[in-house]
Symmetry: D2
Subunit: 449 residues, 4 copies
Amino acid sequence: VSRIFAGLFARGEVAARTSDQAFVQAMLDAEVALASALARNGLAPVDAVEQLVTVADAASYDLTELGRGSAVAATPVPALLRMLRERLGACAAAEYVHRGATSQDIIDTASMLVARRALASVLDDLGTAAEHCAELADTHRLRLQPGRTLLQQASPVTVGLKAANWLSGLDAAHAGLLEIWQHELAVQLGGAVGTLAALGERGLAVMADMARELELAPPQLPWHTVRIRPARLACALGMTLGVMGKVARDVILLAQSEVAELSEHAEPGSGGSSAIPHKRNPVDAVAVVACATRAPGLVATMLGSMAQEHERGAGGWQAEWEPQLELLRLAGSAAASLRAALARLEVHPDKLERNLAGTGGLVMSESVTALLAQSLGRERARELVEIASQTAIDQGRTLREALLALDAPGARIDPDALEEALTPERHLGITGVLIDRALAAHRELARGG
Amino acid sequence: VSRIFAGLFARGEVAARTSDQAFVQAMLDAEVALASALARNGLAPVDAVEQLVTVADAASYDLTELGRGSAVAATPVPALLRMLRERLGACAAAEYVHRGATSQDIIDTASMLVARRALASVLDDLGTAAEHCAELADTHRLRLQPGRTLLQQASPVTVGLKAANWLSGLDAAHAGLLEIWQHELAVQLGGAVGTLAALGERGLAVMADMARELELAPPQLPWHTVRIRPARLACALGMTLGVMGKVARDVILLAQSEVAELSEHAEPGSGGSSAIPHKRNPVDAVAVVACATRAPGLVATMLGSMAQEHERGAGGWQAEWEPQLELLRLAGSAAASLRAALARLEVHPDKLERNLAGTGGLVMSESVTALLAQSLGRERARELVEIASQTAIDQGRTLREALLALDAPGARIDPDALEEALTPERHLGITGVLIDRALAAHRELARGG
Amino acid sequence: VSRIFAGLFARGEVAARTSDQAFVQAMLDAEVALASALARNGLAPVDAVEQLVTVADAASYDLTELGRGSAVAATPVPALLRMLRERLGACAAAEYVHRGATSQDIIDTASMLVARRALASVLDDLGTAAEHCAELADTHRLRLQPGRTLLQQASPVTVGLKAANWLSGLDAAHAGLLEIWQHELAVQLGGAVGTLAALGERGLAVMADMARELELAPPQLPWHTVRIRPARLACALGMTLGVMGKVARDVILLAQSEVAELSEHAEPGSGGSSAIPHKRNPVDAVAVVACATRAPGLVATMLGSMAQEHERGAGGWQAEWEPQLELLRLAGSAAASLRAALARLEVHPDKLERNLAGTGGLVMSESVTALLAQSLGRERARELVEIASQTAIDQGRTLREALLALDAPGARIDPDALEEALTPERHLGITGVLIDRALAAHRELARGG
Amino acid sequence: VSRIFAGLFARGEVAARTSDQAFVQAMLDAEVALASALARNGLAPVDAVEQLVTVADAASYDLTELGRGSAVAATPVPALLRMLRERLGACAAAEYVHRGATSQDIIDTASMLVARRALASVLDDLGTAAEHCAELADTHRLRLQPGRTLLQQASPVTVGLKAANWLSGLDAAHAGLLEIWQHELAVQLGGAVGTLAALGERGLAVMADMARELELAPPQLPWHTVRIRPARLACALGMTLGVMGKVARDVILLAQSEVAELSEHAEPGSGGSSAIPHKRNPVDAVAVVACATRAPGLVATMLGSMAQEHERGAGGWQAEWEPQLELLRLAGSAAASLRAALARLEVHPDKLERNLAGTGGLVMSESVTALLAQSLGRERARELVEIASQTAIDQGRTLREALLALDAPGARIDPDALEEALTPERHLGITGVLIDRALAAHRELARGG
């Protein structure tokens, strides 16, 4: 990840939790947990664990040296072990560290640990973003807004309903990540070829103890070349980014100069352009969309890496390492940016009213059609409303005027009924119910999470 | 999908279930279910439902005509409705069909229905493929095989363990699809902008009844532009294809002329080449890999379509239609091909033995190192085994010979202990336990599914 | 491809040129060209070619039967040859057809032939779309329009400049496809393993003659597992779809109810919604975006298939077949839709003026800042304009009013100079020059193409 | 990019050339070139350029500070300008720096500059890798090797021909990148909305001078939202990675324990496993495959970002930044790894002979069929060879024995002719010619490049 673009792509708590140092720490934690599990099963002295702990601080390791080592062995683990053993010197731990394991065990376990730690902050920011949506949904439940299909005004909705839809998406993504966080992140321990041969009869017990130590799930089988776990994580992150992208794109569209129903409240100095002084760009929403745009390709990489050969992949496995970290970082950054965007979102009632009125009643054509259909039938009603709509557009009149001026058999319309049909508030269907359902589901998730 | 490549990409039951006609049938089923739900809620006469049913057979609709209609409205629904109403003529149903709904409701619901029907056959073929793996795992649990990392022989495994790993992957994919099949496939009904405005107070009840009618889940909220559901389906299919690709690639690698541990039993005339008469190509496994290779890009398309604008996406939604069908078809075709490949898989014990012996004992170096480490320490043991391995390779001798000829301090090795360390059967760790775990989990899934 | 969605994804001439029948015809054409090249090199009797021609009409082949055959051999070629030879019966041609070739030679050559034929219609529609842009650029070169960055009004441009930018993109894509069409589409002929062993010394000559016959390039080497050619085609199509997506998205955004600067002229009955009578959806632009959204995943599939093993890929090659056809079809459909959208694009001068005026002069802030900077320096000028902009926004005043009311040292502004700085026409830079450059380049391409 | 995996993914010269510091340097170089072009056109004093040069060393900028700035403006440019102006203090340059430009101009130009510098080292390593292939092709032109289709032995080729095919792929990729390097990398200068309004009549001249200064191409039009240039670069890199992946995968397959025709010569300590002492993993080839596996998703991201809105993309543009850098880094790393793998590639003649003989003559079935077809016709010949092949496989005999034992009408075979047909050297077709063509084309490219 580039430091200079960190404000968009390495934002929030997640950045530190997916850093090189965090990954090395996770590898060291995996070695410590393995040693501890060995000790618990009588395969290593307890002393060895304590010795190992004293040298297991990633801050003291030279990351560049590790990188050089990764060129020689196609993984950084042998270099890490060499550095570890140098530090251990004549300690017994030098003999026991990594016993029974292979490089993949350490890297896969570390990847899962990093995921566990990073997801916690993704979930946190995502939850707060959802909370902001819940507030919007509740506060603006009756605030009318043009509903838009194919970006054309169609029928009225409310700001609250739009926020409730966002909320339902963010909550679904949250629940998906939570499920992963709670059940899918597992230790990997298989030894050279997945038989745990070096641990004799104790393999399964060591794996279980190591998992417990790290608060990871113990897998049914080692999963060295069955890559459903990393793929599931990637997919859940990809979907989360997809939902956040939807919310952010809506914000950007609603913040357009000509729409202006919402805006990111401008802190002094924020959102400016290097050429244009007056601009108030929706920068946080833009950052979310930028992160989201990058997700599908990375998920494709994770899925495209799944066909790993025999007992260790020759390229596919290695290809997973950075994309998984990037997906975590992008999801976390997007969540932090979305949270920020929503926290300072301003709703502009005057613009909402202006836009809703802007089509001269055309936004009510569905409800007017329903009214006319009662007496004329659906087909004829639709035809008349189309004619009136066209007249209204051509002559710059309102739909009401055009309808009342219709000169066609059976086209007499009761003005009171028409008035009602043209009233957006009367054409909101089950908007309130839907908002309540979204809020209730959100509260349930918040309790359970 | 191309008919001429159907043998690879439109194979098995899934082809018919994802055809154009199947999709039109699903759209018609959605309209019927909606009418039925309207009737149940007093919003349409019961007669209308019966009339509708009589004209709801997709076989009588002109698909090309529908296609032409989709150019005008960017969906085929208005054309379908026109054709439907023509058939209904003066029937009351003509007035009530599609009431309250919008095109997206019908297409999204039809997509989910098609998914439900197609998944049933994907699950069936996938389950049978898994069953074949379970048999392999059980039958060959002790049949020795070289374990390979980075495609190099590393340490011994058994054919049964490899099959158990495949099984665990296929079962995990199966469970993921089953979860989708049972809980994620939902009706979509929102009306023009997701408020169900045209149905007054009855919107929620109509949605629930329509869902029940179609055996789909009733969603918390309409999901017209919150696209987690199609994305989840796509991801689950992508992961399933990824796992199948892993199994098939292993089969292809094991069927190589120089490895030849497995082969697809050749039916007369199958697997041949247009240039080479003697070839026995693993054609079914190749078809699986071909399907799997196409999945990541399609999943990326589904994820890349998620940021849909406001209350109806302008491009993103439409972009989902065919890729979702393709993913279903590819997953089903791959499952059918994998099932066929595994059903006629032959294991060649002589080649397994020859290959395991082929490295002159090097495949046992891990276990020999463990033996030496007991007296010499890990570092020194590893060093000696590396020297002996190099000598064995250079001089074309076995590892045993090279080890016994080592002339180094402390390098005296007990021949009996060495013999044991060189015996693959003694170096299988918890292979049997892992196979049992995979089989037990499989039986549980089979019961539950 | 689905027939029912053909209006979006199988539109225009390209649909027939990428059909199953078109592909079979191309395979038959390849066999005929090979036979003809064999005859020219004395390796087959001339009679055989004539006999072959009589049975080389794809319309008479059963595509479903071919599909069944593709399950057995993992390609449809053996089945096609069987059907061909049945038709030839005792003719000499039965003995000579396919001589020296392997299945891959026929499929790869047919893919390239189909690409050649399909690209011709893609280029045609793309060229016409570009022509429409050229007309827009010329006709509306001085028609003011708000320029927008991050979807916020920034500084003025003209409709003509926007169209010139579209034009430059479409022309660049066109030139890229033309380059492929002219130079990259090559015959493939390598025989079983790329040595053309069955043709003795005449291999190269046969390849060259076959290429000439088909108007394809003769490659330096057979390219059975060096897949740069299909990848280049895919990339060029992907980029073309990307550029078209940009144009179409701009159209959709400019057609929004609240912007309304452009619209797709509504033919009666087109663009309607199944729920909303008054809608005039930009359906053709939506179809373009839908096609474009599907391209990146398909290109990724083509690139992800490149690592094909040894002398024939086991999965990667087969995975190319349908995605390449789909990319051709999507590019052609998008070009047809874009051409249609641009042909009936209406420019709405009143809305352009309204929108440009809508920010009360803020859209001129860059030019005002430049004016003030002459006396105050850049930093101070920017500061004052920011203050005035904020005041204007807060108090609902114009930027002019806010600037003239500024009460700050050195903030006295000459009203005439301010007037000029606030005049959009004076702040268009080299707009005219850029339009001319785009038009000149377009005419050059049109001549050369 | 992660430092700890640098040995696989940030290898060779390219790493430094795509670093954060390299990018900041390129941004500073862009500002200097712009100032210089302004001065040349009388729009800035020459002094300003000199002042600017003194503060334009990226090493003195705080990258983390820049990153923080990128959160506020969604680009790091405003923060960079602030830091630049602080350093300039009261110098005149502070007033002129960035004049006429917008953030996108600087970032896009810097991206192109970084690409230019990074591509030089990609081309260098790629060219050396190709050179190694040329040597292999020449040295081993007659060294027989089994040709393999679908990973099954098919007909003989030579090591030299395989290398020549690799060479043709690497050269085609090289030519593609060179074309980009020479013609496609262009300066971007458009100002706020692409009109260069702030530069009056001199916009075009400034753009041309800025381009000359940086050795980049001057574009026809600014390309702020027409993203063909970055897409072309991405595609060319993606294809280059695809070709390298093919070569590396072949190496890995040929280095399998059971094939062993090639190996990466093991430096002491390289290629080892943390669990298995004897392993000699093809680590460099694995690194290449890992890089290549990551490319398609990143190219998809670049293509998926192309539909950028109006005059500046709201998410799509920002999404390009890191993936473009990653593609450069991955292509360069893969080229460095491939170069290393090929430089130490060992060919094992004994294993080649053993493998070719391993099928008991079946690898010659195509040539034997051709022999028999002379008297029996193609169909009957093929049938007999299939029977004999099956017999040979079933009874563990050679194809010769099986053929001579055939007891069928017309199956009498002349032993001498059979001997010749079974001689691989006589069945190489135009292998030598193809090798010569690849070498000649390579020498031409090497001269021209």
